[in-house]
Symmetry: D3
Subunit: 162 residues, 6 copies
């Protein structure tokens, strides 16, 4: 019935066809770490950064970015995430903040890119809000910690060093 | 139960109500043709256009545009396409490139606008990348070639002249 | 199985988890009123506003905004609305136009924010198109009139004074 | 030099041509009011709304929406606002929150639509965050309070009743 | 001062650097043609297409798409267009509608992609609104008719056959 | 002339007012590193990743994301970047790819967030394209390397360890 040829040029980008996949419950957890000067760490927790409430703004930015994932990542399927949670774990000794996100969906494709995008944009927002104070902040250790649902099964990693 | 009046003014735009439609497997194939000078055709295939890899960039632009269809076409329903494929068929004799797209979805409404939007934006991207070289390129023969799923049944057209 | 801690800081924003909710038929009706000078009201209905056809443009803006609701409202879930209808009820005596929107969806979450967003953006578009003529227009009485579907049951309100 | 005909059909929408306008300092102030039950007003100020910090989230939503104004309002010119400020004035006696926004720009066109859009989306966000608690909230009195810059001169209005 | 290496891999896409270009008055005119069945042509002009006012909706879609050009075309620079005009020239004998767009800007880069994008999306919107009636519509002859401003000087082409 | 009160609540987010800043030439260079399994590194460079040409797709995603920065980062000013360049420096020994971006603009505010956003989204795209092969990739060392223009003067950092 189709006049369409599937012979792609070698190496060309393509979107995976998920039309025939069974929907299942999908979940993904991702993390990332923002390292900064101790004085920046203090200012964030004292709410004295000039641009305002850093972690609350970063959380909202992360949530909104998760919803935009398929606009940012070219070959990602558009999906309607049904939940995202973003947590911050400050580490005073390391003068860093760990960002953790969890995304959930009942659907045909995984949500790890949504979880990773939320981490990245929350981290960039922390950078933006503190950059007049600390240009040397570093965003690191962005990785997937958990994934479940779909045929590749359950993936768990405790830390970035696993 | 409703206080809402359905009496539209004559001629006013409206979105079709698909709430009660049964989801079915939907597929659409569309095409378009970009005509250019022979020297432009050569440069695209030799990868010597100054702005870079023309067809790869056009493919990604087309995929991303398909995901944005309901933002561009006012009365289109938002949908989450589950597959899009974009192919290029160069015709050296005509000094033209045919773009073919196929979109798939299991859902309540057809995907022909997504296939046509992908063709159009892939063609515009080819124009953009080659325009410093060839302002007279023409985009033509954008049309639907196939459509299946939904109550209107199967539609097939071999070429623009059918 | 999860290393993720759900202990939010007090007062932090969060998106409600709808993953496990049963999809049902959802409907919402919202309204808003734009008040203006009698001469502006006349110009809208005589199609003599310099920027063009006011109500038709406002309707399209409202439809397109409804599709963007989850991009605008931070904690709204992304959904694919299956219908939106926008009506205008002019009131010559009050020199005002009432906007009514109805949104429908078979899904896991309500559509009242989509209906209210459509009202708001349609009203802002009326303002934009007439503002060179009438800077003192007022947008008021934006509220939810009906809501059905989901566990909170049926909500009906006849007017803003109910 | 142009083959283009400017003869529009009567009543068709059009964007004002600002190409030849002198850039000037532009400023606009807008307001809106969200009315609610006293218990909802209390919960917002005690930070005990389940969805989180209402006013902080509404402020960020309003700022982000101001940046999207030309995507929402069809005939608005795209501009790069150089400042937006959003304030909340709670009125315990009326059990309402007044939202005030100010937008600034050095440019060729006014910023009143950006100020009004920010008010509207901040108000909708308050509605969204409190709606499980109070479906009868009303958004009213959205209007322009001040405008300066451009040939139409200075506009000032103290309240919605002016 | 820079640690950054400009040695691109051969064939990689790149955005032209316009930072040091002098701003000039830019203008571009583009066209496209939508061909259809005579009965569809009649229905558009009688306002009896079920989805509503076809040309008014297509015009608004084209204006809004012009503002989104740099989101759609990967290597296009973001610009704030200061004017766009869209006209329709119906040809009853050919049962087709010619779309013409003009875009203006005082800036550092040309606006031909904005004019061509507006044509394409206006044409796709005509297709969308009439497709239940006529699946065989064809969009053709999309090309640049005029361009002025910038170092490449004035370009004029009367028709697609020039 | 203004009825607007600038007294923000303590800790509330706000956008910096850049209206009165002198435009200057702005430049920023940022970097990030994606670490992966040696077999993934090989597959990227052999063009045998199933989803297609990884680095070309990541470059386009990064360019498009830079243009969206102010939509993602809540308090970022919208700007029209006039150049972005993205380079990849593969390190076979470390089995990692360093991403470097440079953004330029003549304007009123810095472009470091655009450079950092481009790095982050290019890195996420590499992750997305290789994730079926390697779920344990890590994105690290995202930081600003250079910044010039504006009153804070020139900032240079050779590596993440500076």
């Amino acid at each position: 019935m189709s006049s369409f040829s599937h012979i792609d040029n070698k190496g060309c980008s393509r979107m995976v066809d998920i039309t025939d996949k069974e929907p299942t419950l999908r979940s993904a957890v991702a993390q990332g770490v923002v390292s900064m000067k101790p004085s920046t760490f203090e200012m964030i927790h004292n709410d004295s950064i000039k641009k305002g409430n850093v972690l609350e703004t970063a959380k909202i930015a992360g949530i909104m970015a998760a919803k935009k994932t398929s606009e940012l990542i070219p070959l990602c399927h558009p999906i309607n995430i049904s939940h995202i949670d973003i947590n911050f774990e400050p580490d005073k000794d390391e003068s860093s903040i760990k960002i953790k996100t969890r995304v959930r969906l009942f659907g045909q494709t995984g949500v790890e890119m949504e979880a990773l995008t939320a981490v990245s944009v929350a981290a960039l927002t922390i950078y933006d809000m503190c950059k007049s104070q600390d240009k040397k902040m570093i965003i690191s250790d962005i990785c997937l910690l958990e994934k479940s649902g779909g045929k590749s099964g359950i993936f768990v990693r405790k830390t970035v060093n696993d």
